[in-house]
């Protein structure tokens, strides 16, 4: 890049800083608000500097919950969300890599129709098929369970397509060499295809984990018990209160906590992701 001199460079930097501020300010406010006294926030006298209630607010949030609307500790909500997001991410990857393997490497009747059916489901998001899905889950007695939270969201046309595209770039000679080396279909999948898919799986895991973590409508519908509540549903319930002040420090602390696992996943997986990209060679 050409180095700009003097004034023009300051303008460019100023614009970048404004952009960063716009993105970061709400996050900063959330963190600050989560360390203040609720009365101050309610009076509209919130300081823009961190207050002194950090430990008590976070302790209350994680282990006790709000005193009003939801009595569920946020620690438990996080556990629920984590289990759901992990089940969805891992389940989606497992199911879609297996179905992509079947579609790419096996010749069976109606292979292409099946592929197109999977492809078409891309156009049917959860919201569209929510009533029949709810009915099935209810009939299977999976309401208020981890299975009910995760199972209906596990099938993934997107991930299947991604793995299909990747498998099609793997040279046929690798499969043929495996066949001559005495590796059957399962061996080839396990010994060759899975290790080669590592980077794709890492990238997908990041996307799918965040997708699962941010689910709102589905958990809201099928969980009724407080102890099965996920964090995204919990935040919403905390804000809507009747006959009482919204406990903003606790709400903000919950928001900050809800942010942490996705951030952690992105940071942790990014390293593997980048290293994989550099290392992998087909």
């Amino acid at each position: 890049m050409v180095e700009e001199e003097g004034f023009r460079r300051y303008v460019a930097h100023a614009i970048l800083w404004i952009g960063i501020a716009i993105v970061a300010f709400p996050v900063y406010i959330a963190i600050v608000a989560s360390t203040q006294d609720n009365a101050l926030i309610a009076n509209g006298q919130m300081s823009l500097l961190p207050g002194g209630h950090f430990f008590e607010v976070y302790y209350q949030t994680i282990f006790v919950g709000t005193s009003g609307s939801t009595r569920e500790p946020v620690g438990n909500m996080m556990l629920n969300s984590l289990v759901m997001a992990l089940l969805i991410a891992v389940g989606k990857i497992a199911i879609s890599i297996i179905s992509a393997y079947a579609i790419v490497y096996f010749r069976f009747p109606f292979r292409m129709p099946i592929f197109w059916i999977i492809f078409i489901t891309l156009m049917l998001p959860v919201e569209v098929r929510i009533y029949p899905t709810y009915k099935i889950v209810a009939d299977l007695h999976m309401l208020d369970s981890y299975a009910g939270l995760a199972l209906p969201l596990i099938a993934s046309a997107t991930a299947t397509l991604l793995f299909r595209q990747f498998f099609m770039t793997v040279p046929d000679e690798l499969l043929e060499a495996s066949r001559i080396d005495g590796a059957g279909p399962l061996r080839f999948f396990w010994d060759t295809l899975l290790p080669l898919s590592r980077t794709n799986m890492a990238a997908l895991f990041v996307i799918l984990f965040i997708l699962g973590w941010n689910q709102y409508l589905w958990p809201l519908l099928i969980t009724t018990r407080d102890d099965m509540q996920t964090i995204q549903v919990g935040i919403r319930k905390m804000i809507t209160t009747t006959d009482a002040l919204t406990e903003w420090p606790v709400v903000m602390a919950t928001a900050v906590l809800a942010m942490l696992p996705p951030v952690f996943v992105v940071v942790a997986m990014q390293k593997l992701f980048v290293r994989g990209l550099v290392e992998t060679e087909k």
Binding site: A177, G182, D191
Partner: protein
């Protein structure tokens, strides 16, 4: 150790395309057989059928006295070296070679002995822990060879294994493959489109064209007596000069009564003013010269003056002719020269090029 016999082998694809139109080849135990031909001639398909990677739609493939048409590749006791090596990118060199042995349930101690021995032979010992991407093209080629030899199979199959290497390395590896094959004395089938590779490696040369075998035999015998014009122009570089002739023009030379195609190899011409008894002479105008050091190729155009040609016995009608002369001395471009070939250096084929007319 085993012989490989192909009996009337055919391959027809579901669309009706006939890739292999009935091939009979017999490779004796320990022989090195090379399948050569232009791209699309079916040589790779045939090799893959022997490997079991393509189904056989007709005829029989027999390895060591057992018909293997329905046998899985892993159970045919063959090993294959692929053009792009097909090494497992995520495994070390050691594991690449050991994979096939472990899949067969061999004990780890025996696996190690075999891989170490193969690595020693192929000079790969210092690289056993590396991944394929850390190796040069030639080293990857060796690993692919190593993966084949650790198995100690009945038959080696090579699918254009040298075509991804640069010219110098290709020659070095060619010699090495031949030495290795002689030492292990394992029956081998080798596919290439490079006629020089084919000539230098083969005990038995199979020249293929359009899904059919044009000629089978010892490479030198094929070179000296090509059975068809296709073989004549494919084997040998630069290719044999082929000239359509009318019966009356060369009757005195060959005693043939049919119109046919006359073939003369570039190296069988001599620049001379004499016409050898029973031989043939051509007046040429030099159009291009290629000097490669030890030899020089002269591209000449034959005279367009049909009247004059017909008037002189032993001369041929117009066209382009390649002449190979030793050394780097060559006539200048535009010069008019006269070249001649001896009677025993002439090849005569039928008009359609499918049959050799004289023995």
């Amino acid at each position: 150790m085993a012989n490989v016999t192909l009996r009337n082998v055919r391959k027809t694809y579901p669309g009706g395309f006939e890739a292999i139109k009935g091939v009979n080849v017999d490779v004796a135990d320990g022989q090195f057989c090379v399948l050569v031909g232009p791209s699309g001639c079916g040589k790779s398909t045939l090799l893959r059928m022997v490997a079991g990677l393509e189904t056989v739609t007709g005829g029989e493939i027999d390895i060591g006295g057992r018909v293997v048409n329905q046998v899985e590749p892993a159970d045919r006791d063959i090993a294959m070296v692929f053009q792009n090596y097909a090494l497992y990118p995520h495994m070390s060199v050691f594991n690449n070679m050991a994979y096939g042995l472990r899949n067969r349930g061999m004990k780890e101690a025996e696996v190690k002995t075999r891989v170490d021995e193969a690595a020693r032979v192929l000079e790969l010992t210092p690289m056993l822990e590396r991944k394929p991407r850390q190796l040069s093209g030639g080293q990857r080629q060796r690993v692919a060879m190593g993966r084949a030899i650790v198995r100690q199979p009945k038959v080696f199959l090579f699918d254009e294994p040298l075509s991804n290497l640069d010219a110098k390395l290709r020659i070095a590896m060619r010699v090495e493959i031949r030495k290795l094959q002689r030492r292990l004395n394992t029956t081998s089938i080798y596919v290439t489109h490079d006629q020089l590779e084919a000539m230098t490696l083969a005990d038995v040369l199979v020249v293929m064209n359009g899904g059919e075998v044009e000629q089978i035999g010892n490479p030198l015998a094929i070179y000296e007596k090509p059975a068809t014009t296709f073989v004549a122009s494919f084997i040998g570089a630069p290719p044999m000069n082929l000239m359509p002739t009318r019966a009356d023009e060369i009757k005195s030379q060959l005693g043939s009564t049919e119109a046919g195609i006359l073939g003369i190899r570039p190296e069988d011409f001599v620049i001379t003013d004499q016409t050898p008894a029973g031989g043939i002479a051509l007046p040429l105008t030099v159009e291009a010269i290629e000097r490669v050091g030890a030899e020089t190729f002269v591209y000449g155009a034959r005279d367009q003056d049909e009247q004059r040609v017909a008037a002189t016995p032993g001369e041929l009608p117009p066209g382009e002719v390649i002449v190979r002369i030793p050394g780097s001395e060559a006539p200048p471009i535009g010069a008019r020269i006269r070249v001649a070939a001896l009677r025993q250096k002439l090849h005569l084929f039928s008009g359609d090029g499918r049959t050799r007319l004289e023995a």
